[in-house]
């Protein structure tokens, strides 16, 4: 866990990893590379990871972030893990809805809702 990007905060609740994106805006290539460099090793090092990505701070993102989320989800499923998203504000949720990604991601209103059914 040495390579966690400073713009990502991790909380461990039992076997569940809650990754909170701390930036309000995610659009720079450096931010994306930093997040990818944090998430992918974390997932590889934790087979069967139960990962919740918390968007409570995020007010703006671009389609590059959506691409990153898909790469993360593929890596999670490769390791037979579970990925859930939560606390997505209305403007960002609209971006998911327009692109239909609300159909493929498990999106929850709160961290507690996202925890339901996960092994603790």
């Amino acid at each position: 866990m040495d390579n966690i990007h400073p713009n990502l905060s991790l909380e461990f609740r039992g076997q569940v990893v809650i990754a909170t994106l701390t930036d309000e805006k995610i659009l720079d290539e450096d931010q994306l590379q930093g997040l990818e460099g944090s998430f992918l090793p974390l997932i590889e090092q934790t087979p069967g990871i139960q990962l919740i990505i918390n968007f409570q701070n995020v007010k703006f993102l671009t389609s590059s972030v959506l691409g990153l989320l898909i790469r993360i989800s593929k890596k999670v499923y490769e390791t037979e893990g579970t990925l859930r998203l939560c606390c997505i504000g209305p403007k960002i949720l609209e971006v998911f809805r327009i692109t239909r990604l609300d159909k493929i991601f498990d999106i929850n209103a709160s961290v507690d809702d996202a925890m339901i059914g996960l092994k603790k």
């Binding site: 703006f60 389609s63 959506l66 898909i70 593929k74 692109t99």
Partner: protein, 152 residues
């Protein structure tokens, strides 16, 4: 450049880098704020600018910082109007696969054009396909449009 109390008309030619276009985006968004455009509109314009600039830098200019991007922006009390041109060969926007189709849903790229079409009121390209013209009017519906889905 033409600038009065209520109108901004400005052109730039900048190097094709993330840092350069970010400055332009900030300037345009700041002008929208001073014109009292609401946050929904600023979000729509910001997202569309980011997507268009990424397309120009990556796909148009192939991430070559020696190449340039030309931007022409008109902001009036009623609308935001911008053209962004790169030095690429251009592309056919009608040939871009619809990312909402089941076969494309898990692809990591290809959503920028759809988002621009959804959030802006007018989107058009020059015949070569290397210049996008986008307009957002002040008094349009707050919710983004949903372009017709094109799945084979």
């Amino acid at each position: 450049m033409a600038e009065s109390k209520n109108i901004l008309h400005k052109s730039w030619k900048v190097r094709s880098t993330e840092q350069e276009v970010k400055k332009l985006a900030c300037e345009m968004l700041e002008t929208l704020r001073t014109h009292d455009f609401d946050e929904d509109m600023i979000f729509a314009v910001h997202l569309s600018l980011e997507e268009a600039f990424v397309n120009a830098i990556k796909h148009g200019n192939h991430e070559d910082p020696q190449k340039s991007i030309k931007v022409e922006c008109l902001i009036t009390p009623d609308k935001f109007d911008v053209s962004i041109a790169d030095e690429g060969f251009g592309f056919d926007p009608s040939g871009v696969p619809d990312p909402r189709c089941n076969s494309n849903l898990y692809k990591c790229t290809g959503r920028g054009v759809l988002l621009i079409q959804s959030y802006m009121d007018l989107v058009e390209y020059n015949s070569r396909g290397n210049c996008i013209h986008m307009v957002k009017y002040r008094n349009t519906a707050p919710n983004p449009a949903e372009p017709e889905q094109k799945c084979v």
